[in-house]
């Protein structure tokens, strides 16, 4: 039982990282109708800059600010220099150009930081574990990540539900033509939304730094998971991003943790382990396929 709670927390933590990634990206998809493969690059930039600043200054807080700012700034620059020219182009052009961006950023990080992965220390004060329940210690840092993620989700909800800017963004995601009709400076709004998305991705990147190795190409594995989240949740829908991120986070984590044990009850141990390894790595994609068959436009489609 304690193991289940621990894994649920791990699943929540993956879900939160995925939510930070997909919240921004789903808005970019929904509002600008542009497919952006380079979103993972902002995650990577956040992680690299964060790791570097943390190593230089020893302050995780500073690292976080720097990583998030760098990712957000990169996002705005990329939007102005590249993405802006792609809004009215075909999806194929967008895929290719943003693929070019990935090549560029991945190689650039190799030039600047080398081929060896960077490792980031868990911030002081968060290195210990907290005993959540008797017999259930859980790393404080991971709890902090979960807490931060929940706070950001709350802040996003406030932004979208309570502010004028948020309402404009939501209106834009549900109906693109409306943004122009509302008399909004569309170009600025697009840059802002894109920058916000990049910033959130950067935050996810910095927070992943002490848990994962910071390396070139790290953005793409989470990018593809993010796509799965968006497909499940529905393009342009924040609610869908929340639901999709939690579903994917839980299914992936719990599948990896418990499928071997479950399968061992019905199969021979060696068969069970290899089947479980295959199944658990494919679980979220099978989940996606199931959602597709059931609701091709995702659980919470934003467009009618």
């Amino acid at each position: 039982m304690l193991l289940v709670i621990e894994q649920l927390l791990n699943g929540l933590q993956l879900g939160i990282a995925l939510f930070l990634m997909s919240a921004g990206l789903t808005l970019v998809f929904g509002i600008m109708q542009v497919i952006n493969l380079a979103h993972g690059s902002f995650y990577m930039i956040g992680a690299y800059v964060g790791a570097t600043v943390a190593a230089q200054t020893g302050s995780f807080l500073l690292a976080m600010v720097a990583g998030v700012a760098a990712a957000g700034a990169c996002g705005c620059i990329v939007e102005v220099l590249v993405l802006r020219h792609l809004y009215n182009r075909e999806h194929l052009d967008q895929v290719l150009a943003t693929f070019g961006l990935i090549m560029f950023f991945n190689e650039l990080t190799r030039i600047v930081w080398g081929r060896q992965p960077l490792y980031m220390n868990v911030p002081d004060g968060l290195t210990a574990s907290i005993e959540l329940l008797p017999g259930l210690p859980y790393p404080t840092y991971r709890l902090a990540v979960i807490g931060t993620g929940l706070l950001v989700a709350l802040a996003l909800w406030l932004l979208f539900a309570k502010t004028r800017l948020g309402m404009k963004i939501r209106a834009g995601a549900a109906n693109r033509e409306m943004v122009g009709a509302l008399g909004v400076n569309v170009a600025l709004l697009y840059t802002l939304v894109f920058g916000l998305g990049a910033l959130l991705a950067g935050l996810a990147g910095v927070m992943a730094g002490p848990i994962l190795a910071v390396e070139s190409g790290m953005g793409e594995s989470i990018l593809i998971l993010t796509f799965v989240v968006i497909v499940i949740g529905g393009i342009g829908s924040i609610r869908g991003a929340v639901a999709g991120a939690l579903l994917v986070g839980m299914v992936d984590t719990l599948g990896r943790a418990f499928l071997p044990a479950i399968l061992r009850t019905i199969l021979a141990a060696s068969t069970a382990d290899s089947v479980a390894a295959s199944l658990s790595s494919m679980a979220i994609y099978i989940l996606m396929a199931a959602v597709l068959v059931w609701k091709p436009r995702g659980l919470f489609p934003a467009h009618g």
């Binding site: 998809f29 109708q33 497919i35 493969l37 590249v82 020219h85 792609l86 182009r89 075909e90 999806h91 194929l92 052009d93 895929v95 290719l96 150009a97 693929f99 070019g100 961006l101 990935i102 090549m103 560029f104 950023f105 991945n106 190689e107 650039l108 190799r110 030039i111 793409e220 593809i224 796509f227 799965v228 968006i230 497909v231 393009i235 290899s274 390894a277 295959s278 790595s281 494919m282 994609y285 099978i286 996606m288 396929a289 597709l292 068959v293 091709p296 436009r297 995702g298």
Partner: protein
């Protein structure tokens, strides 16, 4: 003779005489580079059927290359280990004969394309792109988890396939096998896009709503095109496995799907022959840039972006004035 025919003719002559020329020039390495180019050209041209004609932006084409490659490798692994691949409904211990392996590789990839296509083609646009990418990634992880066949580390082929009358261990023989396969595919595909089927695919790619208005249920045509393209990519995969005598999940990594797309775009979308040129230019650029810098991608990326933003019709269009079917 039109400019297009001349360009294709020149290309064909060049490819046809590459092995003797390379041997004469004392650069036999060029033959295996040539094989690689021809194999990737096959994969890229098959992707062009989807991208350029049916407007199906599949970002998972490498998965089918990988499935074909693994089929070839697994069949030959079992054949050399004399270990049954399956015992029911009949005993099958794999095979190393190209006559068995190549068609089976294409069939397996086509089957994978049938399943993935049937699910993905329920959607369009951005959904389709993300879903094809996700399913390709699923196959990637599936092969990573296949410990029996090397998992992450991949699987070596004991030898190249055998074919009556050819010695595929000989690079020139192997090169001509690849070239003949490519030529057959291009012949088939260029007939295909001008057939009734091709007309429907092009129509659906151009304006799917209108196709429905005509009373055509485009899903099954698109699915058939997806299966044909997937099967052809599988064939390319089997050839690739033979060429390097090694397969690994890296073959179906999504960056390879992206690179195949780049080849199609570089050469010219919706031209079939363009992607052949695109594959050649991409792989040669990679070879040449790698001599000068290990960081060639940092130049390739912006080059790609500029190509997308400014040059829409690819090299083939530049050479022939042919802007492709959907240009």
């Amino acid at each position: 003779m039109t400019k297009k025919q001349m360009t294709i003719g020149c290309g064909a002559l060049f490819l046809l005489f590459l092995p003797p020329a390379a041997l004469l020039g004392g650069e036999p390495y060029l033959i295996s580079l040539g094989s690689r180019i021809v194999i990737y050209a096959l994969a890229a041209a098959s992707l062009d059927l989807l991208l350029g004609y049916g407007a199906m932006v599949s970002l998972g084409h490498a998965a089918f290359v990988g499935v074909g490659a693994y089929t070839a490798a697994i069949l030959s692994y079992h054949s050399f280990a004399a270990e049954p691949l399956f015992a029911w409904p009949f005993l099958f211990t794999g095979s190393n004969s190209g006559l068995v392996v190549l068609p089976l590789a294409a069939l397996t990839a086509a089957l994978a394309a049938l399943i993935i296509g049937a699910l993905s083609l329920r959607t369009t646009g951005m959904h389709f792109i993300m879903i094809t990418l996700a399913f390709a990634q699923m196959l990637f992880y599936f092969f990573v988890s296949l410990e029996k066949y090397g998992g992450d580390d991949g699987l070596s082929l004991p030898a190249r396939n055998s074919l009556p009358g050819l010695n595929l261990g000989n690079d020139s023989h192997f090169y001509y096998l690849c070239l003949a396969t490519l030529a057959l595919f291009l012949l088939f595909a260029s007939r295909l896009v001008e057939s009734r089927f091709g007309l429907v695919i092009r129509g659906a790619g151009n304006n799917n709503r209108r196709i429905r208005g005509l009373g055509i249920h485009s899903f099954r045509y698109k699915l058939a095109a997806f299966v044909i393209a997937g099967g052809s990519a599988g064939l390319a995969g089997a050839l690739l496995a033979n060429q390097t005598e090694f397969v690994s999940p890296g073959l179906m990594h999504w960056t390879l799907s992206g690179e195949l797309m780049v080849m199609v775009l570089l050469g010219g979308l919706g031209t079939l022959f363009g992607p052949v040129l695109g594959a050649a230019v991409f792989l040669l650029l990679e070879e040449i840039l790698a001599i000068y810098t290990e960081h060639w991608m940092v130049y390739m990326g912006p080059f790609l972006i500029l190509t997308v933003v400014f040059a829409k019709h690819g090299l083939f269009g530049f050479l022939t004035g042919n802007r492709g079917k959907n240009g």
